[in-house]
Amino acid sequence: MEALSLLQWLIDGLIGIGLLWLAWRALFCPELFKAIVLFIAFGLLMTLAWVRLKAPDVALAEVAIGAGLTGALLLSSWAKLRGFDANKGMGAREKNSEQAEQKTKRPFFHGLYAIPLLLMAVGLGYGVLQLTPYATGLSAVVAENLDASGVSNPVTAVLLNFRAYDTLLEIAVLLLALIGIWSLGIRPSVREATPDPVLDLLTRFLTPLLLLVSAYLLWVGAHAPGGAFQAGSVLGAAGVLLILAGWRLPLSLAGLPLRITLVAGVSTFIVVAVLTMLGGAQLLAFPPSQASLIIFVLEITATLSIAAILAALFLGSRPDHSEKI
């Protein structure tokens, strides 16, 4: 028993130190590309930390979104920045930006910045150490009401029943971010190329598998770790893979059908919210007898919308424009 707990402390200590070290390297190593790769590694180590903190739902979301999609987004933006630099007379520009980075390094002032930050860290740490070592929070309340929620996984119950309002707004935020990107009018990248045969073959194998995993996560979310966000991000990752392999949405689907998929999640949520209010209940207060069905419908549309929005975020420009090239 003693040895086991020592081993656990060792693992947790290593994960903690590894996280801080990776974060430090990701933030301060001089090469941007290396920094991004280190950040992806940081996301993967975060996943381990979530598992250690007994939050497998969060670990699933982190590995698909935090490490996977964010990493892909950062790398593709980095490649676009470099492509831009290369277009504009290579060497001079790169040197310029390096000089600019050198110029802004003023170690003396940076040391001064560190002092209030250290004070802040000490204050926050002191605050955490003052907290009671044991607290159950709201888990008892959630467990009491779990039977009425329609699902048996407490995290899904919170996300789609008790705090469904948060999830409604969250999908709205995703949609807003996409509208923001589309309204910037960024020109689509013209890298229309025949995909690498290996990548092409890999995509053909992986896409059905990702579809299957996504459907499984969606279904299992009702009673085990999983759910709409994890399923949506796996499906979105399949979309990202297809985009990387050079596949594009056919023009006939890039217009209205795509837009309907993008807004399906949030509009289903709003319809359900209005219906519950018309039924005399509060906003998004589901009747216990139908809660299971309502949650399932919400999750399916949310999964499709999240996947479409995430893939569109990765594409970075309106697909109907890029089709014309």
Partner: protein, 101 residues
């Protein structure tokens, strides 16, 4: 000190590292990385404090963190698009006030 408190302290460390990097770097991609690490630190504090129990941890912070991760990725995507736009207009992936001093 329990394991939950250890992770909460790591989370605070990550947050402060992120704030520091956000202040000293001029390059916008680095600022976006720093914001993401700050966010991870906050999530870690939230979940670590939810784990201060012997039985199953509080599901409410876990749900909040899942929501937070999805919001963070959409904010990152928007920030990266803005960065590319700034780079296309000014030729530099930095904000203007960096060169005034």
């Amino acid at each position: 000190m329990s394991i939950a408190i250890l992770y909460a302290l790591v989370g605070i460390g990550l947050f402060c590292l992120g704030v520091y990097a956000l202040m000293i770097h001029a390059h916008l991609l680095r600022k976006i990385l720093a914001l993401n690490i700050m966010g991870s630190g906050v999530f870690m504090v939230l979940l670590a404090l939810a784990g201060r129990t012997e039985i199953t941890p509080d599901p409410v912070p876990a749900a909040m963190v899942i929501t937070g991760i999805v919001v963070a990725v959409s904010a990152t995507a928007l920030a990266l698009a803005l960065m590319l736009k700034i780079n296309a207009i000014t030729g530099r992936a930095e904000l203007n006030d960096a060169e005034e001093k």
